[in-house]
């Protein structure tokens, strides 16, 4: 986890410093805001990883662990699910509503709600097709 944290913090600090130099030198607002925002976007998750890397034992993937160190439950991976497709169609209709008129949102919003509910329920059950 250490390398992961360093990567994000390093990138974030670099962009932050660049943003400060740029801001002072150019006095141009939009770029300064975007650079500093981007820097923070790197530093925040980086600090989170650092917090955890200090508090947990080395993971097998960070050491010379033998391959069976990874045996056991590593997560549940649904084999198939219809909900991403339904959700995607809902989002598509929503975007088409931006173009062709809000009446399409009448179909889009229920579709999105339905899909989110379906996906959540499937997740709770551990996923019908998951294993």
């Amino acid at each position: 986890m250490k390398t992961e944290a360093r990567l994000l913090i390093g990138l974030g600090v670099f962009v932050l410093i660049m943003g400060i130099v740029y801001g002072i030198w150019s006095k141009e607002l939009s770029g300064t805001v975007m650079l500093i925002g981007t820097g923070i976007l790197g530093i925040f998750p980086g600090l989170y990883y650092r917090y955890w890397s200090k508090r947990m034992a080395g993971r097998p993937e960070d050491t010379d662990a033998p391959v069976d160190a990874g045996a056991g439950f590593i997560g549940s991976f649904p084999g198939s699910s219809i909900w991403p497709f339904v959700l995607g169609m809902g989002c598509w209709l929503m975007v088409l509503a931006l173009v062709f008129g809000s009446w399409l949102a009448v179909i889009a919003l229920p579709t999105i709600t339905f899909a989110l509910a379906g996906a959540t329920a499937e997740g709770r059950r551990g996923g019908a097709a998951s294993h």
């Binding site: 990567l7 660049m18 141009e28 976007l41 045996a71 198939s80 995607g88 975007v95």
Partner: protein, 569 residues
């Protein structure tokens, strides 16, 4: 995960078919959350987009072959170059790289059973597919497709200058594909951070995976900015705001700042995956370990960091930007890029090079990208950019770059096709395709540089006042048609291959990384067994126990792969 230490065999493969479950056919396509199925969907869809965008390019070049072409009308020409650029950038290059091959290969390269969020991954694909359809729908609506260039500059994209539904479809398409990209970025980063196999430390990851990690981070930094910019553009068009509207106190240049703050990192979001692919291919076909692994990693990170601070080199001529800052930052990027070229050449140096189609494409990528990089250095100098901005010099420059990406895409496809399908693409057709694509790209771009220096502007359908530009334009079109022909060769090859026998086996190229340890194609959840991972070349170490990769930080003999192997057996 299983802990046996055996390469994958055909016997295992049978077992794989028993294990295969879930719906088949169209339902499999609709419901699968397997990263391999999604990766393939992405790959096929994006290649279709390459063909569509390429067809637009053929029309553009046909129109420009003569000074007063009549292939399309002036208005249609505006739609054509806008949609050509948009389809190629938003719908082909990015999705092919980070949604297609990366989706397929990254989990396998790090020994993971799938992406971290499989259903989110599927959603990414559906947003990408519907986004693509939305963009192309522009041709079907009154007023036609978007016609303000792929960059959508204000005020050309406002409600007054672009009143039609085509412009809104363009915005909607970018919203959909933008979220699709963001979700893929989340997935890549989470997968690489959390699902690596035991022993797969960060500094043992294949360089392709490293590049995809950095690409994923760049996506997360850059794409939200574009999405925000698009929301404001839509608000200006429909909700009466005046964010980019100079007549009511808005700032049109703000759009350019936002767009390029995404746009330049996007250049590296497009390029880094292909850098990664050739970095896998070159050492394998030189029968050497990669030269300068850590240098490669740090160069990738440095490129990403610097790429966030160069956006306004696209805006030198607006007169609103800090020229020395952006020029200097742009020059700095050539240092890590130079390191990469040095390492690629170092990896070939003294190796036993096998000139397979994949290797030829990889070398073609290096040469073509180098030309694009060098002319980029010219453009990074404000005085030279003032002279060449918005001319064909710029079109030629970025086409050297993007044609390099197409060549790199072919390198990746020829390299990984046996892994994905178990079958080899035909090498002879592949080599013919390479020469048409590589020489075609050169013949297509070189006249552009000269035309640009003579002053031919981009985005122009006729050049009636300059008939002397015709020779170079015709030459350029010949190059374009060679590229078109090479694409036909590829499609023929891919279709022909579906009938050839599955002879690839797990590790046909004697390669280095984990995807070559499992069967071709890999089973559901990717592996029946994994080797112990003690270097960045676990598969090589397994097959060559007496010639292990002595890695940069691994000089302790007990860490040698053969020692580890003895211990587990």
């Amino acid at each position: 995960m299983v802990d046996v230490l055996e390469p994958q065999t055909a016997a295992h493969d049978d077992h794989g078919h028993d294990e295969h479950h879930g719906p088949s056919g169209i339902m499999n396509w609709l419901t699968s959350t397997d990263h391999k199925v999604i990766g393939l969907n992405y790959t096929v869809t994006s290649i279709i987009m390459l063909v569509i965008g390429g067809a637009f390019a053929m029309l553009i070049r046909a129109q420009l072959t003569t000074p007063n072409g009549s292939v399309v009308t002036l208005a249609q020409y505006n739609e054509l170059f806008t949609m050509h650029g948009s389809v190629m950038i938003y719908l082909f290059a990015g999705p092919f790289a980070f949604g297609g091959l990366a989706n397929y290969m990254v989990p396998i390269q790090i020994g993971a059973p799938d992406m971290a969020f499989p259903r989110l991954n599927a959603l990414s694909y559906w947003l990408y597919l519907t986004g693509s359809i939305t963009m192309l729908l522009g041709f079907a609506v009154a007023g036609g497709a978007a016609n303000f260039g792929w960059v959508g500059y204000a005020p050309l994209s406002d409600a007054l200058n672009a009143p039609g539904a085509g412009a809104d479809l363009w915005i909607g398409a970018l919203l959909l594909t933008g979220f699709s990209a963001i979700f893929t970025g989340v997935n890549l980063v989470a997968t690489i951070f959390y699902l690596r196999a035991p022993g797969m430390t960060m500094f043992r990851m294949p360089i392709f995976t490293w590049n995809m990690l950095v690409t994923g981070i760049l996506i997360l930094l850059a794409f939200p900015v574009l999405t925000a910019g698009l929301v404001m553009l839509y608000a200006d068009r429909h909700f009466g705001t005046h964010i980019y509207d100079a007549n009511h106190g808005g700032v049109p240049i703000l759009w350019q700042n936002i767009f390029w703050f995404w746009g330049h990192p996007e250049v590296y979001i497009l390029a880094l995956p292909f850098f990664g692919m050739v970095t896998e291919i070159i050492p394998v076909f030189s029968r050497k370990p990669l030269f300068g692994y850590k240098g490669m990693v740090f160069a990738t990170i440095a490129i990403a960091a610097l790429s966030t601070g160069v956006w306004a080199h696209h805006m030198f001529t607006t007169g609103t930007v800090l020229l020395p800052f952006f020029s200097f930052m742009t020059y700095l990027i050539s240092i890590p890029t130079g390191i990469k070229f040095f390492n690629w050449i170092g990896s070939m140096w003294g190796g036993q090079i096998r000139f397979t189609a994949a290797m030829l494409f990889a070398i073609g990528f290096l040469i073509t990208f180098l030309i694009g990089g060098i002319t980029g250095i010219i453009l990074a100098s404000p005085p030279l950019d003032f002279f060449t901005h918005d001319t064909y010099f710029v079109v030629a420059h970025f086409h050297s770059v993007v044609m390099a990406l197409v060549i790199g895409a072919m390198a990746g496809l020829y390299y990984w096709f046996p892994k994905i399908t178990g079958r080899f693409l035909n090498e002879r057709i592949g080599k013919a395709q390479f020469w048409f694509l590589f020489l075609g790209s050169t013949i297509f771009t070189m006249p552009g540089y000269l035309l640009g220096l003579k002053g031919m502007p981009r985005r122009m359908a006729v050049y009636t006042l300059h008939p002397e530009w015709q020779h170079l334009n015709t030459l350029s079109s010949v190059g374009a048609w060679m590229i078109g022909f090479s694409t036909i060769l590829f499609v023929i090859n891919a279709v022909k291959t579906t009938r050839s026998p599955k002879t690839a086996g797990p590790n046909p190229w004697d390669a280095h990384t984990l995807e070559w340890f499992t069967t071709s194609p890999p089973p559901h959840h990717n592996f029946y067994a994994l080797p112990n991972i003690r270097s960045e070349r676990p598969t090589w170490d397994y097959y060559h126990p007496d010639a292990p990769a002595l890695t940069h930080d691994d000089h302790d003999p007990s860490h040698m792969p053969n020692a580890a192997k003895g211990a587990t057996k």
